[in-house]
């Protein structure tokens, strides 16, 4: 029982670290040309492959874990469909891809993130098939790693702050990576990639910064709630 | 007070969930909605509480069409509450008191007032003795009563109950029946119950609507409705046993079993004489 409680606690933990991304940050179908679509897929591929082999090891040891991965994946998908109350009135997307990284390791969660992003593309039209590689990189890999890293570094100093920063900065990190991906694919006609990057960062800042803060707050509340439980 | 007029409700994909439904909740203080799984009872409740907006037709509240703006829905829901089937999905706190107080706190009611109302609600559902146990230690029946308390603490005028006794044992079922009866008789609430348990409907409700495939195919006093064999058959329902013995054994129709037994004993004594 103690062990289960520990696992639950650890899982909860990650829900809290779960970055929330805005709906607006999924790069839509057809938005990247073949070169960039391919490049980001190649970049994400090793994470998926390594993650997949970790999952295989986990499920070979205990096949019931397939069930857990299925449940966690569905949970992450549901979080991504929930609307976050936001100051700007826009709705956001808690994509809990970081969830479970502690139980399964961050690598396997890239695979879960990958599957969830496929379902988002197919069932919700958030993102797309050709832009999957780019979206996996920003949301399934960079986001969770930032959240995980910040949390590990800061948790002993101030847990709430660690949770808040982990969630908020993961969100911001994802948004900056996505902006960079967009800028690289669509350089500004006058100022090139850098000019384009500044524009994307600027224009998405309107929704992303309040959302990042909102997500940080939400995550802290849930975190404390789960600690009580 | 609350009325549905020619309401048609359509799912997002175009399937018709409710078709031209008119229901007047002022017909009685205790109204039953019966129908098979998938007949549309839940959708009906969601339309009545303003959660879903009908495709056509109207919900009339105090004679005026319901407005779906946030502030008016908010006022509306101070008068109308709903208890869903699964208590696990409507209890949010591990502490019974906090859970019952949830709605009141959201409305900004003072803690003194909250205390009075929560304790009153606890008493009414007979939950006082387990009110300081953590929720996850409670049995299914106890959780159900907490969920009911959470809604009646709001002191709404109209209360909807979706399958209030599903999964409950006979004793708890009886206590839920008593709560429903006391709400409609003593507290002057309008109680609307949907259930598959025909005995419950018969014991608790005065007026009944029969829903079948999204349409009202019958309505009337509970004693009349359950006498209509064809109606029950076509909607996949059956009779309460008191109706069965009336129909098949020739007893008068009684509203509850003690009346039946009294009658039986009286007749026996008369025969002896």
């Amino acid at each position: 029982m103690k062990k289960i409680k520990k696992i639950i606690f650890v899982l909860l933990y990650l829900v809290l670290l779960t970055p929330l991304y805005s709906n607006g940050m999924h790069i839509m179908e057809g938005f990247l040309d073949p070169f960039w679509a391919g490049l980001w897929s190649v970049v994400s591929l090793p994470f998926i492959v390594i993650g997949f082999s970790r999952i295989k090891k986990i499920t070979d040891e205990n096949p019931n874990k397939k069930l857990l991965l299925g449940l966690v994946g569905a949970f992450v998908f549901i979080l991504s469909a929930l609307k976050l109350p936001s100051v700007t009135g826009s709705t956001s997307h808690p994509t809990g891809i970081g969830l479970g990284a502690m139980v399964f390791g961050p690598m396997p969660m890239a695979v879960i993130g990958f599957i969830v992003l496929i379902f988002q593309a197919l069932l919700l039209t958030h993102g797309g098939i050709t832009t999957l590689g780019a979206n996996v990189f920003s949301m399934g890999i960079v986001g969770p790693f930032i959240a995980y890293g910040i949390y590990i570094v800061l948790k002993d100093k101030n847990r709430s702050l660690a949770v808040f920063l982990g969630a908020a900065l993961a969100n911001l990190g994802t948004y900056i990576i996505t902006s960079a991906q967009l800028a690289l694919a669509h350089p500004d006609s006058v100022n090139g990639v850098l000019g384009s990057f500044v524009k994307f960062v600027g224009i998405f800042a309107f929704t992303q910064i309040p959302l990042a803060i909102g997500e940080g707050i939400l995550t802290v509340i849930i975190f404390n709630m789960l600690l009580e439980y | 007070m609350l009325e549905m007029k020619n309401v048609t409700s359509i799912y997002e994909d175009g399937t018709v969930a409710l078709k031209d439904i008119s229901i007047d909740l002022s017909k009685s203080k205790s109204i039953g909605i019966i129908g098979s799984n998938g007949a549309g009872k839940s959708t009906l409740f969601l339309n009545f509480t303003g959660v879903l907006k009908p495709k056509s037709g109207q919900i009339l509240f105090r004679g005026k069409p319901l407005s779906y703006s946030k502030p008016s829905l908010r006022e509306f829901r101070k008068e109308v509450g709903i208890v869903f089937q699964d208590p696990e999905r409507q209890i949010f706190f591990s502490n019974v008191y906090d859970d019952i107080a949830f709605g009141l706190r959201n409305l900004g009611v003072s803690e003194d007032e909250i205390k009075i109302r929560v304790e009153d609600a606890l008493k009414r559902v007979e939950a006082a003795e387990f009110s300081n146990k953590p929720v996850h230690f409670l049995s299914h029946g106890q959780k159900k009563r907490v969920a009911i308390a959470g809604v009646i603490s709001m002191d709404n005028k109209v209360l909807f109950f979706d399958e209030p006794t599903a999964g409950l044992d006979p004793l708890v079922t009886k206590s839920v029946e008593d709560i429903l009866l006391s709400l409609s008789n003593k507290q002057e609430k309008t109680v609307v119950v949907s259930s598959h348990d025909m005995d419950l409907i018969y014991n608790v409700c005065e007026y009944v609507y029969v829903l079948n495939q999204g349409q009202i195919i019958g309505e009337g006093k509970v004693e009349d409705i359950f006498l209509k064999n064809d109606l029950l058959k076509s909607s996949g329902l059956n009779e309460p046993w008191l109706v069965k013995i009336h129909k098949n054994l020739g007893y008068p129709l009684f509203k509850n079993e003690s009346e039946l037994y009294e009658y039986h004993n009286r007749m026996k004594n008369e025969q002896k004489k």
Binding site: I27, M28, F75, P85, V116, L124, V190, N191 | G103
Partner: protein, 236 residues
């Protein structure tokens, strides 16, 4: 609940060979990516629209609503691509003076934006044809034929199954909260949403525990056998 999924199982092209539907859609998405000809884009958009609305019978109103879903992203990005800044107003077709520099639209920017818009719309329309006409079990069956590893497909199928269970649960919890005024202001919205996520999570863990027992009772041998034989796949 998920409208795209619902249409996939009820549309008029449901029983057409999934390999044909998926092959066609993916081909058009690929063609849209490499194409630069405006008329070709317009052709894909019109063709995809016709096939989805008229052949598959997806209601126009629902279809248009779905097309609008990615527009928040599309429009924001279009503005970013369209508008440039420079100290020299000559590079622009049209510009306004912003005191320190000029902001405006260049010919290349305009052309790029227009092409990008058409390309995204073409790909989107093609993707919609796939998702709206091909039920998920056909998609999984096709992936199986493409030799996607079975472990991947097992987890994929389980996630698909559980999405609907959790969706219904979260919706019910949300409604119960909403009816008790859980979302009437920002502060309690945050609290209610946190409670919702917590409640859902606790229930997910309980479900895992319960379902493991069922797995034992069903003599689970370590593999979730998907789409092996008859049933559901006959028309695949």
């Amino acid at each position: 609940m998920l409208i795209i999924d619902k249409f996939a199982y009820t549309n008029k092209l449901k029983s057409i060979n999934p390999r044909l539907k998926i092959g066609l859609s993916l081909t058009f998405i690929a063609l849209a990516l490499i194409n630069k000809n405006m008329y070709f884009f317009i052709g894909i958009i019109c063709g995809g629209f016709y096939a989805t609305v008229f052949l598959a019978g997806i209601p126009l109103k629902n279809y248009m609503k779905m097309i609008l879903i990615p527009f928040a992203f599309l429009l924001t990005s279009m503005i970013a691509i369209l508008v440039s800044f420079s100290s020299d107003s000559d590079v622009f077709l049209y510009s306004i003076d912003l005191k320190f520099f000029y902001g405006g639209v260049t010919l290349i920017g305009l052309k790029n934006a227009l092409l990008l818009f058409l390309r995204s719309m073409s790909s989107l329309v093609s993707l919609y044809f796939l998702t709206l006409t091909t039920p998920m079990d056909q998609q999984i069956y096709t992936m199986q034929k493409l030799r996607i590893p079975s472990l991947f497909l097992e987890i994929y199928s389980l996630i698909y199954r559980f999405i609907f269970i959790l969706l219904e649960e979260s919706l019910e919890i949300y409604r119960a909260q909403e009816l008790r005024f859980g979302y009437i202001n920002m502060k309690n919205s945050y609290l209610s949403l946190s409670i919702l996520i917590k409640t859902l999570f606790v229930r997910v863990m309980r479900r895992y525990k319960d379902m493991q027992i069922v797995l034992d009772m069903k003599l689970f041998d370590g593999e979730f056998h998907i789409g092996k034989g008859a049933g559901g796949q006959e028309n695949a």
